[in-house]
Symmetry: C2
Subunit: 276 residues, 2 copies
């Protein structure tokens, strides 16, 4: 593992690290914020999964999450959104290939050799964090934005017992019924839609829900509402009697100005679960 | 004036606007955060001047200032750092020409026709803000980072009575004695160093100081300490018995991770002066 940078930040350290990933069969880079408390021993961790076109860097520099994670003594991990490098397949569209891994293990060519973001985020990266940093893997929570909100919700519901709480900012809530989803799940997983169900938050909510608290925020002026389909997830959550809070925020759009506005709420929500 | 974008942000609006600048003889773009309170009438304003290579956008997306400005009911203005456009002279170096206006009115060619950032920030942009937005020009404060910290300190001391408070993050504190300064002041103002004195915070502090509170933060691990020369400004401020707080922050560098860490303190400092 190589240290790309480490900056003092809110009393802790914002680091960027690169490592050879076996899941993705390429070098992967992630951001990790460790609060001051990590100097004295393992701290709980909040995963932040990013959206289409992002790298590890966008949320790390624009979401303002360190402010509140430092206050709560929580680590933040910012994974990349896809495998990277010249050997990795790509597509001209912004929403397929690099920057658009959708947090699945691809089974279809040309994606299958590298696009294994589910395994990367669910297995390889947590193990790496636990071995190399003062991270308490018994206290994990997860959030994300847009495609990353989809990732957070599907990982949380797909790995029962792993995360104490899950939240999402403007998640892609029902990808198997959206152009943000059908295209990518078809490309990565093939045309058998039965294989998509494990990667659709609304279907997972209908099927099993989440064994902890859920928080989602979506802006009423989000320019992608028709693709996000929050109404599907809201309906499924209420029908299941899922413990949680599903909010529509008046006037907010899809940008990081929206994400940063509600970040304090989300980190406080996760802190309550992580320290409860 | 053209609206480039407006995003809901912490209950207010983060806007980006472009206008034909007479001071710079080109189109100029700036960011403006208006808190919720601006809907009910004029609010005080905190100027944030950015550093070398930045546009209006860097601090607007990375400094986290809106969090605290919203809490305090203060507007934030993020000017660009130089004139822009094909007609504007430039230099291959990152620290001269575009992105490096140094907040002076250039008198030397090829810079003189457009590089009038002092007039732009001191005269044209405040007038434009007062005419078009709910900004109370009787309650202004100013801050900035690096070259922008230099700008904040020199504007505050050079315009007595204009700003109620001034702060700076890692300011270029003594440019006439630094390679971040001698090159640019020489290029923009010519070789007569007497003309530089109005643009050197340390010399201004020795000469007259500031008629209000001053706050500066600089990291002990700042990679540019030899160019910033905080020791010169510290010495001058103490010798003058300047009201103020000059801090060296252990472990912090020159990045926005440093700026965002101490932004809450700076906004609270200015709020006290603006509402006092």
């Amino acid at each position: 593992m190589q240290t790309q940078s480490e900056n003092a930040c809110f009393g802790g350290t914002q680091g960027v690290y690169t490592h050879a990933s076996s899941a993705c069969a390429c070098d992967m880079t992630f951001g990790l914020f460790l609060p001051e408390e990590a100097r004295d021993g393992p701290v709980p961790v909040l995963w932040y999964l990013s959206g289409l076109t992002c790298t590890h860097e966008n949320a790390m520099t624009k979401a303002g999450a360190q402010t509140w994670a430092a206050e709560q003594g929580i680590a933040l991990v910012f994974p990349d959104t896809s495998p990277r490098g010249e050997a990795v397949a790509d597509d001209e569209a912004y929403d397929l290939g690099k920057g658009a891994g959708f947090y699945v293990n691809a089974t279809q060519d040309p994606w299958a050799p590298h696009f294994r973001m589910w395994d990367y985020v669910a297995e390889e990266l947590p193990a790496l964090l636990g071995e190399n940093f003062a991270i308490d893997l018994d206290r994990q929570a997860i959030t994300g934005h847009s495609m990353g909100g989809h990732g957070a919700l599907t990982l949380a519901m797909g790995l029962p017992g792993r995360f104490r709480s899950v939240s999402a900012f403007a998640p892609i809530a029902h990808p198997s019924a959206s152009d943000w989803g059908r295209k990518q799940l078809g490309a990565y997983l093939g045309e058998d839609e039965a294989t998509w169900a494990a990667h659709d938050a609304t279907l997972l909510m209908r099927e099993a829900g989440f064994d902890g608290p859920v928080l989602t925020d979506t802006g009423t002026k989000d320019q992608f509402l028709d693709l996000l389909k929050p109404e599907a997830l809201f309906e499924a959550a209420a029908a299941r009697r899922q413990q949680g809070t599903m909010r529509m925020q008046p006037g907010y759009d899809h940008s990081y100005f929206f994400v940063s506005t509600f970040m304090e709420d989300h980190v406080a929500f996760h802190a309550e679960a992580l320290y409860g």
